[in-house]
């Protein structure tokens, strides 16, 4: 199942088409896998098996459609809610769970909260929590890639609320001025924790904010995986042709809570949620696949079953990993430890040995 993910192969199709028909089932399976991981992790968090979780249900089509339009060489600068992007990239569920658990197997050494991952080998840059800071990084990396002669784009993900951040303004302005080959992919999921989109800003769309920076902004239905794919392919072509950045606003809905610490019933109505559930991107793509004869109920059930089994296996493996080695605390603040850190580390090791501190 993990293999169903991975970047698309072959020539990029002209931008008027959607995801290549041959890929569509894999795209659907990736969305199903994302949903499955998401639901499982909410449970794991409730059971205290992971410490925290940021769900992304409702945003699968936007993420898969976007990621499918990219090449593995393109650099991704995510926020914290891009699970399906990671899966399309080929990052395995097991790898992600290692991070959620924060075990010794986590490639980031258990340094961050769940959902704040990154993998250099996948050109997927390690996320942080402060919103928006990744946006100007994507611009700088795009400028660097161009300077190095690499024909790639950078793509940065952020939410509706994050359009209010300092880095949104600085990043888009720099990108406009330097015509950076960057795609700004805004998932407008209608809420920034308890703040509705309409109270976040008075612009009529978020996409039109691109006017302020002199490049195009487009709105796309984020429940339509093909529409998103087309928009991103077009933006990518523009960027590589030297025509500069594009802001894409994918309109979606966060079906779950902001995070496992959040209770959305405090600020939004059941009716609103129900209305958006009607537009569930998974149901929509499933319907399309059935219409075009690519999927029947049995095949669909198998896809869900495969996903479930893959996730169960990954959880089992990940939970069997040993905890982080305490002595790694003093690595990676700097490339090599300063004398001060060396001294702290020695003292720390001593405290562990003496049983003052307990791993």
């Amino acid at each position: 199942m993990a293999k169903s993910a991975g970047a698309p192969a072959g020539e990029m199709l002209p931008s008027t088409d959607g995801i290549p028909p041959a890929d569509l089932l894999r795209a659907y399976a990736t969305m199903v896998l994302a949903r499955t991981v998401d639901e499982r992790c909410l449970t794991l968090q409730r059971q205290g098996r992971i410490g925290f979780y940021v769900p992304m249900q409702g945003q699968e089509a936007a993420q898969v459609g976007c990621a499918w339009a990219l090449r593995p060489e393109d650099w991704i600068f995510p926020a914290y809610r891009e699970l399906a992007v990671a899966l399309v990239r080929g990052i395995t569920v097991r790898t992600l769970l290692d991070q959620f658990i924060g075990s010794a197997a986590d490639e980031s050494k258990g340094r961050q909260m769940p959902n704040h991952y990154g993998y250099r080998r996948f050109n997927y840059v390690t996320a942080s929590s402060p919103v928006g800071t990744q946006i100007s990084h994507a611009v700088g990396a795009a400028m660097a890639a161009r300077r190095k002669g690499d024909a790639i784009v950078t793509v940065t993900f952020f939410g509706d609320g994050t359009t209010s951040s300092n880095d949104f303004h600085a990043g888009l302005n720099f990108a406009g001025v330097f015509r950076a080959p960057t795609i700004f992919f805004c998932q407008n999921n209608q809420w920034a924790i308890s703040m509705p989109r309409d109270r976040q800003t008075r612009s009529s769309t978020l996409a039109e904010k691109a006017v302020a920076y002199g490049f195009p902004g487009v709105v796309v239905d984020g429940s339509d995986v093909n529409a998103v794919y087309r928009a991103v392919v077009a933006a990518r072509e523009r960027a590589l042709a030297g025509e500069g950045p594009t802001l894409i606003e994918a309109q979606v809905y966060r079906l779950g809570p902001h995070s496992t610490s959040d209770d959305p019933r405090r600020y939004r109505t059941d009716e609103e949620l129900a209305a958006w559930k009607e537009k569930d991107p998974l149901a929509r793509l499933k319907h399309e696949l059935r219409e075009s004869g690519l999927l029947d109920d049995a095949a669909d059930a198998r896809i869900w079953e495969t996903a479930k089994e893959a996730v169960a296996a990954a959880v089992k493996e990940a939970e069997a990993q040993p905890p982080v080695d305490p002595m790694t605390l003093f690595d990676d603040t700097f490339a090599t430890r300063t004398p001060q850190l060396e001294a702290e580390r020695t003292e720390f090791g001593e405290l562990l040995r003496q049983g003052v501190l307990h791993p």
Binding site: G102, R111, M113, S129, V131, S194, D262, P323, L329, Q354
Partner: protein, 325 residues
């Protein structure tokens, strides 16, 4: 008197201030409809309306910048920064504007903004939901820095902050938001700035602490008492202004000084405490000053329990201080 948690005490303090003075208002991310992600502002929207409990767009720059404008015009805004780790987008407004307005205008423009923010580790928040950034602000001339460690102080110091004529950074130890309860005076309870609290008397060694480290110090002191080491625990309460007299008095009394904080050690607030003691109470010292602090790394996730100073580490350090000299 009412038995409250620390976060409830903050909530009651805000309500009290808003009831008394129509110029007091609250603004920040998710403070209104949602009542704050820690519920510190729960119920305020209902009682005071959207005009005085203002849900803002996602911009700390904007929150502090507009709060400054409000204060210049005569309101008393209490801005919330959702986590202290997210105060940095507002750093320019705080350091360049808030802290300097009175001075640069020759006293014409006071700027009495209170910035409330939950700080510190212990909630498995990793790098970005755990920081203790007090040293940055304590070094910034023009802003007061306050950290309560009990529900009563949370309310009492907050009310003093709201009515103080100067900018105040009010740091709330979120780790003990709900884990401790205490009696809190009803009504307009105020605790003055610049007056530390001797939490526990002792004659052998002084432990200087604040915020969520105060309960750690007290537990350590209790354990140490079993070993016949009598530790005096001093809760600084306000880092700026510092009650230097109390710091010097306790060190002069015990002759030993152990400083405790969560933030990284290097250039942390503890350095200033150590420096003051080394300048003004050197001859009282029977053994070298000891700092028990976070390590000089970013705040970790999986290893949080080993990063944060705890009772064991403190007890060990105090024993070391007693053995030396």
């Amino acid at each position: 008197m009412t038995e409250l948690t620390l976060v409830q005490a903050v909530n009651r303090g805000l309500a009290q201030a808003m009831r008394e003075d129509p110029d007091v208002l609250v603004l920040g991310e998710d403070v209104g409809v949602n009542g704050g992600v820690f519920r510190a502002t729960d119920g305020l929207l209902k009682e005071f309306g959207a005009d005085r409990v203002v849900d803002t767009p996602l911009s700390e720059t904007g929150i502090v910048g507009t709060a400054i404008g409000m204060a210049l015009y005569g309101l008393k805004p209490v801005a919330e920064i959702q986590f202290m780790d997210f105060i940095y987008p507002a750093f320019d407004q705080i350091v360049s504007e808030l802290a300097k307005f009175r001075f640069r205008s020759g006293g014409q423009y006071p700027c009495h903004v209170v910035i409330r923010t939950p700080y510190g580790g212990g909630i498995k928040g990793g790098l970005y939901h755990s920081q203790s950034a007090e040293a940055y602000f304590a070094h910034t001339a023009g802003i007061k820095v306050v950290i309560p460690s009990t529900p009563a102080d949370a309310k009492g110091l907050l009310l003093t902050a709201v009515h103080d004529p100067d900018p105040v950074l009010f740091m709330e130890p979120k780790r003990i938001y709900r884990s401790i309860t205490g009696e809190v005076p009803d009504g307009d309870h105020r605790v003055p700035f610049g007056s530390a609290r001797v939490v526990r008397e002792g004659s052998d060694v002084s432990i200087l602490a604040y915020g969520a480290m105060v309960p750690v110090a007290v537990t350590a002191a209790e354990q140490l008492a079993n070993e016949k080491i009598q530790a005096e625990v001093v809760d600084l309460r306000t880092l700026v202004p510092l009650d230097e007299a109390s710091v010097l008095a306790t060190v002069e009394k015990t002759g030993r000084c152990v400083i405790l904080h969560e933030a990284p050690r290097f250039c942390g607030y503890g350095a200033e405490l150590a420096a003051i003691v080394a300048e003004k109470a050197l001859y009282s010292l029977k053994s070298p000053i000891v700092r028990v602090t976070g390590y000089d790394t970013p705040f970790p996730y999986a290893l949080e329990h080993l990063y944060l100073p705890n009772v064991e580490r403190l007890v060990h350090a105090v024993r070391g201080s007693m053995a030396a000299g």
